[in-house]
Every structure is written in structure tokens, then in C-alpha cells.
């Protein structure tokens, strides 16, 4: 259980490469690799046949203000770019996608209001977005009531997704931790200190971490949490220094992660200590002031990934938004729309139940790998190859190990 594939098992065959290249070449130039989707998915025949009765309408909900606004705005950048690319390539079912966007401030009651508005007033066909587990829980429950498919950009594995029409495009904590824990334990030692921001996701993330730590025979020498908005981490950092762990596994997220890293650097904990976890995000690097150079993280996407689709995505992203790191959620939001397009055209209808069913086992080309990514037919979660990356001076997350697709973890 909870095994993960060796890097070899996830590599491309020469035949795959030829197919990918063919698909890419068949795409429309400058469309961010959309042509590659048709070349790779089994839906191309349906795409050619199905002409929708009207534009397909997507409700995009994101925390554009509030505590996780940086992630929400990053997601919107990727989403907007993805919409442009899909529409430039002909849209979905022969029509440009219609989009309605709402900010939910990462506040679950607002998420609920937005979802109801999307369904009852805007009559959307599908909802896409959200960052936090709290938003996902509300969205999943309402999706079940209203029978509307929801595509989550970040996966929350504890939400009732198994009984709701939810598609999980982010990686789960199992994906993030299965390769990371053994890598860090082998490289630096088995004494782990666990840190987190005090809300649902970090608690669940670290709970999963403890399963893998136990498997690896590691010791948890401390587990500390701090609430959102903590301005000073001195006491936490002092406790970490005093415990002297081999590895600090951190579920501190958002702006808290930046504050923690900056203060850890100024208090002499970093850069000597080995810190890893979801705290390390490419788009936060500029504000971290180089405090995390040389540290290792487990990611599903890196700008350093070498595939033609990623090159096109990066070029389009920087052309539209200028220089700066591309967040993980931006990349996911971008290619998630390809799955939406493929699902609708495979279903051959806008009927929400049939569209949701079409996601099961669906494959599409993405920027994270040269091989197509598949939606698991049971859990409806995207199965990604995960990468161990080392943070380079300047902020590039350089892939040092391809951990392959993670098996186990999510169950329905």
C-alpha cells in the first residue's frame, strides 16, 4: 500500500513521444498546446461531431480577496489564460466558453452563496475553482444537491467528494508526501518536526505525513501550530531550534509561510535547517528573500519541466502577465479546462450527470508531463507524476527526481 512507481515506470516510450509531437503539431499555433489535447484524448471523434446548442457556461469561484487571495489570483491568471486558449481553438462543442466569475473570499458561507447564485441565477453548466478545504466542503455538498459538476483545482481528500459530482485536479496530501518523506529521511535523517497553520488542511496534511513517517521508522519530535495572521513566529522558531530536528516538515501556508521563513532566516534557523513541505511555493519565493535556497519540495509542476506544452504555457503566461513565478494553481487551472472540454465533447451533451460521468478515466495532455494525465475513474482525482525539486537561487524549482505516479492514498 501507498507505494509509488519508480521513475522508470513513468517515462515515455519513443512511440508516446511521436504521438505527443503529432498532437502538438496538429494544434493551432500559439494556442498554448490545445491542439495536443485532440491528438491525445479519446474524445477527438466526439469533438468533431458534437455541436452544442449554446455556449457552455462555467462558473469560476476563487478567493480573490482575503487570506488566500495570492493563491486565488494566481489561479485566476491560469484560468483566464486557459479560457483564451480554448476559445481561440474553437471553444467547447463549437462555441466559445461563457464564464461568470465570483470572489468568495475563502469564506465558506460566501462560497455557498456564490454556488447557489451560479446554479439558480446564472444557470451555469459546471463550476470550477476554490482553494481551501473549507470552500471545497461547501461546494461539494451543494454540487450534490444541485447535480452540477464541480472541478476543484486543489484536492481536498476529506471532503465528501466520493458521493458528490466533484473532480479533483490538485494533488492529494498522499501524492505530496509519499515520495517526500522517504527522500528527506534518507537524505537528512529521521528526526522530524511538524509545523502547520492552524486550520483543517495542515492538520490533515500532517496527519497523512505521520503515516509515512511511521512507515519509514522516523520520529516526530514535535508538532506545532500557529493561527492565520500570526505576526511573530519567534516562539515557534525557538522551540524548533531547541528540538534540533533533522527535517522540518511544514504545513504553514500562504503569507504565513513567508513570515515564518523570513523570521527563521533572521533568527538563524535557516538556511542551515532542512525545511520542506507545502510551505515551499514558487510564487512565494521572491518575498522569502532567498531564505529557502537549496531546500527540497515535492511538486506536481515546475517551470523547469522540460516538455513542449510547458514551454508554450510559460511563454503565453509571461507574455500576458509579465515576469514572475508561475504558481502551481495557475498551471492547474490552465490545463483543467482541457479536461472540461474533453468531458463535454465526450459526453456529447451538456447534461451535468453525463458530463460528470465523462470525466471518469478521461485523459488529456497537460503542462506537467509529456504523457497524458488521467482522471481516476473511481476517485475522480487526477493522477499526477510527482517531482522532488530543489529550490535554486532565483526561485526555480529544479526537478531532481521524478517520483512517478503515486498509488494508494485516496479511496472511495
Amino acid at each position: 500500500m501507498n507505494e509509488w512507481k519508480s521513475p522508470d515506470s513513468a517515462r515515455l516510450s519513443r512511440r508516446d513521444l511521436v504521438r505527443v509531437a503529432g498532437g502538438m503539431a496538429a494544434g493551432v499555433a500559439g494556442l498554448g498546446g490545445i491542439g495536443g489535447v485532440a491528438g491525445l484524448t479519446s474524445t477527438c471523434a466526439h469533438a468533431a461531431e458534437f455541436k452544442g446548442p449554446r455556449p457552455y457556461k462555467i462558473g469560476f469561484v476563487a478567493p480573490l480577496t482575503g487570506p488566500v487571495a495570492p493563491e486565488g489570483t494566481g489561479m485566476k491568471k491560469g484560468f483566464d489564460l486557459g479560457i483564451e486558449a480554448i476559445n481561440a481553438a474553437g471553444g467547447v462543442a463549437g462555441h466559445p466558453i461563457e464564464v461568470v466569475t465570483q470572489d468568495d473570499q475563502a469564506a465558506p458561507p460566501v462560497t455557498g452563496t456564490v454556488i447557489k447564485k451560479f446554479v439558480q441565477e446564472e444557470k451555469v453548466d459546471l463550476i470550477l475553482g476554490t482553494i481551501t478545504s473549507d470552500e471545497e466542503t461547501v461546494a461539494a455538498n451543494l454540487a450534490k444537491s444541485f447535480h452540477v459538476p464541480v472541478v476543484f483545482i486543489e484536492a481536498g481528500f476529506w471532503v465528501p467528494f466520493c458521493t458528490s459530482p466533484c473532480v479533483l485536479m490538485g494533488e492529494s496530501s498522499y501524492d505530496l508526501l509519499a515520495p517526500l518523506v522517504p527522500f528527506m529521511a534518507k537524505k537528512f535523517g529521521k528526526k522530524f518536526m511538524l509545523l502547520g497553520t492552524d486550520f483543517e488542511f495542515p492538520h490533515q496534511y500532517l496527519k497523512v505525513a505521520k503515516e509515512y513517517l511511521k512507515q519509514e521508522g522516523c520520529t516526530v519530535i514535535g508538532e506545532l501550530y500557529a493561527p492565520f495572521g500570526t505576526p511573530d513566529y519567534s516562539s515557534m522558531i525557538a522551540k524548533v531550534k531547541s528540538a534540533n530536528p533533522d527535517v522540518i516538515l511544514s504545513g504553514i501556508v500562504g503569507g504565513e509561510a513567508i513570515a515564518f521563513c523570513k523570521q527563521a532566516l533572521s533568527l538563524g534557523l535557516l538556511p542551515k535547517a532542512h525545511v520542506t513541505g507545502v510551505m515551499l511555493q514558487p510564487d512565494f519565493y521572491p518575498a522569502m528573500g532567498g531564505s529557502v535556497d537549496g531546500q527540497y519540495a515535492c511538486v506536481r509542476y515546475s517551470e523547469g519541466l522540460d516538455n513542449p506544452d510547458n514551454e508554450q504555457f510559460k511563454t503565453a503566461f509571461h507574455k500576458k502577465y509579465g515576469p514572475g513565478a508561475i504558481s502551481l494553481v495557475a498551471s492547474t487551472a490552465y490545463y483543467s479546462l482541457r479536461f472540461v472540454k474533453a468531458a463535454v465533447e465526450k459526453a456529447g451533451t451538456y447534461d451535468p450527470k453525463q458530463v460528470f460521468a465523462a470525466f471518469k478515466g478521461l485523459q488529456a495532455q497537460t503542462v506537467v508531463s509529456s504523457t497524458p494525465i488521467r482522471i481516476d475513474p473511481t476517485t475522480l482525482a487526477a493522477r499526477y507524476p510527482m517531482y522532488i525539486a530543489q529550490i535554486q537561487p532565483g526561485g526555480l524549482f529544479k526537478v531532481v527526481k521524478d517520483a512517478g505516479i503515486i498509488h494508494g492514498g485516496l479511496k472511495c
Binding site: 495572521g229 519567534s234 525557538a238 503569507g255 513567508i258 538563524g268
Partner: protein, 290 residues
């Protein structure tokens, strides 16, 4: 032993920053009788000012930020607050809340909501006993202590301070004696704003800069003011030290979330039991003792 030195240094650092914010908050509450909800957002403006001026020498950026704070305070007082003084407590409360929202959204529009950072001008660590501590924090804490000492001397030992205290005690009587309330209000709000902006500028190199950063400083600063006698200008400084002393000790033994919950619970209980606050002056303490 090293653990206690660390706790002591952390306490000095956090209480210095809070004392500066609480002093400025107490100044506005005492003189203008306004609860300034925008105080945290003014700190945020200071942090963003330092981010904007990060290419300049640190002290020059700090000076420009302080002057900007003075001007901002003057504009806010003349442009917003003076129109609502006579409309009651709720109107002024809502006005400062509105100012805070405008500042947050304005900054988010200009800089986006992405996290920003400023490098500290001093990056060395100082060895104290068995521990190391950032030179920047020690210098800033020392600087704030000196600044607060100068401000308190100004308030309690100069004619300007006398006029200010007279105006705080009884604004009508002070105006009869030739102390212009309008001028005093504008001056006090400008200085208090500049001090809050300065506090944000000084802590900017140690935090993640985002439009909502001020929120986390607001509650402790209010409690520091509320535990001291209303109208006292030294009180919020001592109140800040008391609040941070309890918080630092709680954090040393508990998770930050638990420590924060206990702290705010204790402070709420204190305010229920002593709504008039405590006079921290030696004179009052001696009088009570005798």
C-alpha cells in the same frame, strides 16, 4: 538558561513594536476620542512604503515613510475625520473603518495581493550567552525605546505636552485658554498616523507584506490601550508591555493558537472586571499603597 534569554529577547522585540502602535492609538483615543480601526492598515501602508522604497538606503526610506505618514495623517484628519467629530462615536468608528478598507483596497489595486518582502538592512546575528539573535531586531527595539522615551518626555516635560494634555483633559476649557482644538486634532492625528506608519515600516523586514497584515496587530494594540486608564499617554506603553509579557510566557509553553485564545480570554475578563483600566503611574500606586 538560554531558553529564558531567548524568551526575554523575543519579549523585548514584540513589546517594543506593540508599544509604539499602542502609544499612537492611545494618543488618538485620548485626544480625538476616536477608536481608530484603521490603525493596523496605517501600519500596512508603512510596510508597503518601505517595499516601494527598497532600492533606497534604509534610513532614508524610513525618513521618507515617516514624512509620508505625517502627510497622510493630516489629509485623513482634514479630509475625513473632521466632518464626523460631531456625529458621535459610531460615525467616527465607521469613518475609520472605511478609511481602513479604502487603504487596503487601494494598496491591493496598486501592488496586487501578492506577498511582498523587504530585506533587513542589518543581517548579522549577535551572540548573547548561548543564543544568537538578529542585530536588526535588537537595534529596532532599542530605537523604539529611545523614541518612546523622547515622546513621553515631550508629553510630560514640555509646554507642547502640557497643551496636549490640557486638551485631552478638557478640550473646551483648553480652547478657551487659546489652544486651538482643530490645530491640535490635526497635529495629534498626523503624528499618531506617522508613528503607526513608522511601526509598520520597522517591522516590514521581518514579516510577509500583504494588504491585510495590519489586522493581526490591531487586537493586541487595542487591549494594550484598554487595560490602561483612559486619557493616559504612558499607559498604553505599559499596557503593551503587560500584554506581551503574558503572551510571550504563554507562547513559551503552549501552541500559539492556544496561547492567543487564553490571552484574549484573560484580557476580556480583565476589561469586564476593570472597565476603567489601570493607572500604571507610580504616583497612583503609592497613593493607593498609603
Amino acid at each position: 538558561m538560554s531558553g529564558w534569554i531567548q524568551i526575554l529577547l523575543d519579549f523585548i522585540w514584540v513589546s517594543a513594536g506593540l508599544a509604539l502602535v499602542a502609544f499612537s492609538l492611545g494618543l488618538i483615543l485620548g485626544e480625538l476620542k476616536i477608536v481608530n480601526i484603521a490603525q493596523g492598515d496605517l501600519m500596512m501602508v508603512g510596510a508597503y512604503s518601505m517595499y516601494s522604497l527598497r532600492e533606497l538606503p534604509f534610513l532614508l526610506a524610513l525618513f521618507i515613510t515617516f514624512v509620508f505618514g505625517l502627510l497622510l495623517g493630516f489629509v485623513l484628519e482634514r479630509g475625513v475625520l473632521r466632518w464626523v467629530y460631531d456625529k458621535g462615536f459610531m460615525a467616527t468608528l465607521l469613518a475609520t473603518w472605511g478609511v481602513g478598507i479604502v487603504l487596503e483596497q487601494g494598496v491591493a489595486t496598486i501592488f496586487t495581493v501578492s506577498q511582498r518582502g523587504v530585506d533587513p538592512p542589518l543581517k548579522d546575528l549577535v551572540t548573547i550567552g548561548a543564543i544568537v539573535y538578529p542585530e536588526y531586531r535588537i537595534m529596532v527595539a532599542a530605537g523604539i525605546v529611545v523614541l518612546l522615551a523622547i515622546l513621553l518626555i515631550l508629553v510630560y516635560r514640555t509646554s507642547i505636552g502640557l497643551r496636549l494634555r490640557a486638551s485631552i483633559d478638557n478640550v473646551e476649557m483648553a480652547s478657551v485658554l487659546g489652544i486651538s482644538p482643530q490645530r491640535t486634532f490635526a497635529m495629534v492625528f498626523s503624528v499618531a498616523t506617522a508613528l503607526a506608519v513608522l511601526a509598520g515600516a520597522l517591522i516590514a523586514p521581518t514579516i510577509a507584506i500583504n494588504p491585510t497584515l495590519g489586522l493581526s496587530f490591531l487586537a493586541p494594540a487595542f487591549f494594550a490601550v484598554l487595560v490602561s486608564k483612559q486619557g493616559s499617554l504612558a499607559g498604553p506603553v505599559v499596557g503593551a508591555i503587560a500584554v506581551e509579557l503574558v503572551f510571550t510566557l504563554l507562547q513559551a509553553y503552549l501552541n500559539i493558537t492556544v496561547a492567543e485564545s487564553i490571552l484574549f480570554g484573560l484580557l476580556a475578563l480583565f476589561i469586564v472586571l476593570k472597565p476603567q483600566g489601570i493607572s500604571w503611574s507610580w504616583k497612583t500606586a503609592r497613593e493607593k499603597a498609603s
